[in-house]
C-alpha cells in the first residue's frame, strides 16, 4: 500500500520543535513594539520616520547583499528587520534621515554580510551601526529632543548627561524629587534615544522574551546585577534605580547583549559576558568620555566572546575535570 508513496529517508530525529529562527526574530520585534510606540508618543513624528528609514535601509541592504553574493534571499527571516528596528531604537529621535539610512547600511553590509551573513557576524549589527554613527556624527548623535527644561530656560539633555556634565544638583533642579525622577525614567518621559527611555515597557518586552524561551536569564540577570552592585558602591541607594532605568541599560541587557550570534554559547560564558558588560558599562558611565556606555560595553564584550567561549567550555558528562 505504501508502494506509490515516497518515503523520505533522513537521519534521526524525525520530529522538531516548532520554534524556528524566523519566529524568534519576529517575536523579538513584537516585544519591542511597546517601547517603540512609547518613543514615538514621547518624541513625535520624526521618531517614527527614523524607525521607518532604518528598517527600510536595513531590508534594502540585506536584499542587495544577498543579490550580490548570489545567496538565497533572506529578507523574510526577520533578522534584517530586527536589526533595523534595534538600530533605530538606540538613535536620537531627531537624527537626520540620511544618517539613519547610512547606519542601517553599515549595520547590515559591514558588520553582517562582510562576515557571511546571518549567524557569522562577530559584532551586534545594530550596536555597531550606532557606534559607527556616533564616531561619524558625534554632534548629531548627542543632540537630544528636550522634554525637561531648567527653571532658567536652558535645555536639558539626557539624565545621564546631566549627571555627568553638570552634577547631581542640576539633575535635581530639573526633577524636583527622586520619586519624580524615577517615575519619569520608568515611563520614559526623559531625553534619550527613541526606544531606550521607557524602562517599564522594555522590561515587559524582556519578560516576554524570557517566557517565550527566546533568551535565557543568564545575560540580563548577570548584566543588571553587576550594574546594580557597582552603582550602589559609587552612587549609594540613589544610584541603583537611577543607573538601572536611565540610558540604554534595559534595552541593552534584554535585547542587545542577548543577541545569540554575538554572545557566548554556553551558560557559564553568558554569565561572564553579562558581568563584563556590566563592569564596562559602569566604567564608561563613571570615568569615560561618554555619558552612556551600554553600546560600547556590549561591543567590547562581543569582541572577546570567542575568547570567553574558549575558556568556558561545558563539562562533558562522564569526564572528570
Amino acid at each position: 500500500m505504501l508502494k506509490d508513496k515516497h518515503l523520505t529517508v533522513t537521519v534521526s530525529p524525525h520530529i522538531k520543535t516548532a520554534l524556528t529562527t524566523e519566529k524568534m526574530m519576529w517575536i523579538v520585534s513584537c516585544a519591542l513594539v511597546p517601547a517603540a510606540g512609547a518613543g514615538i508618543y514621547f518624541f513625535g513624528f520624526h521618531a517614527a520616520l527614523v524607525i521607518t528609514v532604518c528598517v527600510v535601509s536595513s531590508l534594502l541592504t540585506e536584499f542587495l547583499c544577498t543579490l550580490l553574493m548570489k545567496k538565497p534571499a533572506t529578507i523574510k527571516d526577520g533578522s534584517a528587520f530586527l536589526t533595523g528596528l534595534l538600530l533605530a531604537l538606540c538613535l536620537p529621535p531627531e537624527l537626520p534621515l540620511w544618517m539613519c539610512a547610512l547606519g542601517g547600511f553599515f549595520s547590515i553590509a559591514v558588520t553582517k554580510f562582510a562576515f557571511g551573513g546571518l549567524g557569522y557576524n562577530i559584532f551586534n549589527p545594530a550596536l555597531a551601526g550606532r557606534a559607527f554613527l556616533m564616531g561619524a556624527f558625534a554632534k548629531e548623535m548627542t543632540t537630544w529632543k528636550t522634554l525637561q527644561v531648567f527653571p532658567d530656560g536652558i535645555t536639558a539633555a539626557t539624565p545621564l548627561n546631566l549627571l555627568k556634565e553638570q552634577g547631581y544638583d542640576s539633575l535635581m533642579k530639573v526633577f524636583d524629587s527622586h520619586s519624580h525622577l524615577f517615575r519619569e525614567l520608568f515611563i520614559g518621559r526623559v531625553g534619550g534615544s527613541i526606544g531606550e527611555t521607557s524602562a517599564g515597557l522594555l522590561i515587559i518586552g524582556g519578560l516576554i522574551l524570557l517566557f517565550a524561551r527566546i533568551i535565557t536569564w543568564h545575560i540580563p540577570v548577570s548584566y543588571i546585577f553587576t550594574v546594580m552592585v557597582i552603582s550602589y558602591f559609587t552612587g549609594g541607594v540613589f544610584g541603583i534605580p537611577f543607573h538601572l532605568f536611565s540610558g540604554g541599560l534595559v534595552l541593552g541587557a534584554f535585547f542587545m547583549a542577548t543577541d545569540p550570534v554575538t554572545s557566548p554559547i554556553t551558560p557559564k560564558g553568558q554569565i561572564i559576558f553579562g558581568i563584563g558588560c556590566g563592569i564596562l558599562t559602569m566604567l564608561i558611565r563613571i570615568r569615560g568620555g561618554y555619558p552612556e556606555g551600554v553600546c560600547y560595553a556590549i561591543l567590547l564584550m562581543n569582541s572577546v566572546t570567542p575568547l570567553i567561549e574558549r575558556y568556558s567550555k561545558t563539562k562533558i558528562f562522564g569526564v572528570k575535570r
Binding site: A128, A131, I284, G289, A297, L299, T305, L307
Partner: protein, 198 residues
C-alpha cells in the same frame, strides 16, 4: 609617582591609545601571527617582554649617552641597533637558560626586531618623558603596558579569526580584508574608552 599616574598610564596604553587600534603600530606581526590563540599568546608574551626591556634600555641609552654627547640625531640608528642586538642577546640567553621558554617564544623573537611597536614605544617614551621626573620608571611602565595592550589586541583578534574559520565569508573578503574590517570594528568598540579620565 602615584598610583593614579600608573593607572592612567595603564588605561592610556592598553585601552585609550591601544598600539594596534589607535596608533597603528605593529600591524605586520598583528595580522601575521593572529591566526590562532596559542601563537598569539606566545607572540604577545614575547612582545610584552621585549617592549618592557627595550623601553628601559633605550631610555637609559638616550638619557645617559645620546644627550650628554649631543648625539640625539643618531637616535634612529642607535635605537634600531640596540634593539636588534638586544633581541639577539635575549634569544641566545633564553636558548641557554630556559630552553622550554625558548621553544615556545623563540620563533617569534626574530620577528620582533622589525616590529615597529617596539621602536615606536622607544620613540614615544623619549618624546613624552624626556624632561619628566621618574622618566625611567614611566618609560618602562609604558613599554610594559603597551605590550599588554598589544597582547590583548592579539588575543581578541586570534579568537575572532579562529571563529571566522567556520564562517562563510565572501570570496573577495577572505584573507586580510576581513581581518582589517574586523580590526576596524574592534577599534570602533575601543572608541568607547576615548576621553577616559580618572
Amino acid at each position: 609617582m602615584t598610583l593614579g599616574q600608573i593607572i592612567a598610564l595603564f588605561m592610556g596604553s592598553v585601552f585609550v591609545q591601544n598600539f594596534i587600534f589607535s596608533r597603528f603600530l605593529g600591524l605586520c606581526p598583528y595580522v601575521g601571527v593572529s591566526k590562532d590563540t596559542p601563537s598569539a599568546m606566545g607572540m604577545g608574551f614575547a612582545v610584552v617582554f621585549v617592549m618592557t626591556t627595550a623601553s628601559a634600555v633605550t631610555w637609559i641609552l638616550y638619557r645617559y649617552i645620546l644627550i650628554p654627547f649631543d648625539l640625539t640625531y643618531l637616535k634612529i640608528v642607535a635605537f634600531i641597533l640596540v634593539i636588534a642586538s638586544f633581541v639577539q642577546f635575549v634569544e641566545m640567553f633564553l636558548k641557554k637558560t630556559f630552553p622550554a621558554l625558548h621553544r615556545s617564544l623563540g620563533i617569534y623573537l626574530p620577528l620582533i626586531t622589525t616590529n615597529c611597536a617596539v621602536l615606536g614605544v622607544a620613540f614615544l617614551n623619549i618624546t613624552q618623558f624626556e624632561s619628566e621626573s621618574y622618566g625611567f620608571a614611566k618609560s618602562t611602565l609604558q613599554g610594559f603596558f603597551a605590550g599588554i595592550g598589544f597582547m590583548l589586541a592579539m588575543l581578541i583578534m586570534s579568537g575572532i579569526r579562529e571563529k571566522l574559520e567556520y564562517a562563510e565569508i565572501p570570496e573577495s573578503m577572505k584573507g586580510l580584508a576581513i581581518v582589517f574590517v574586523t580590526a576596524g570594528l574592534i577599534s570602533i568598540a575601543f572608541l568607547g574608552f576615548s576621553g577616559f579620565k580618572l
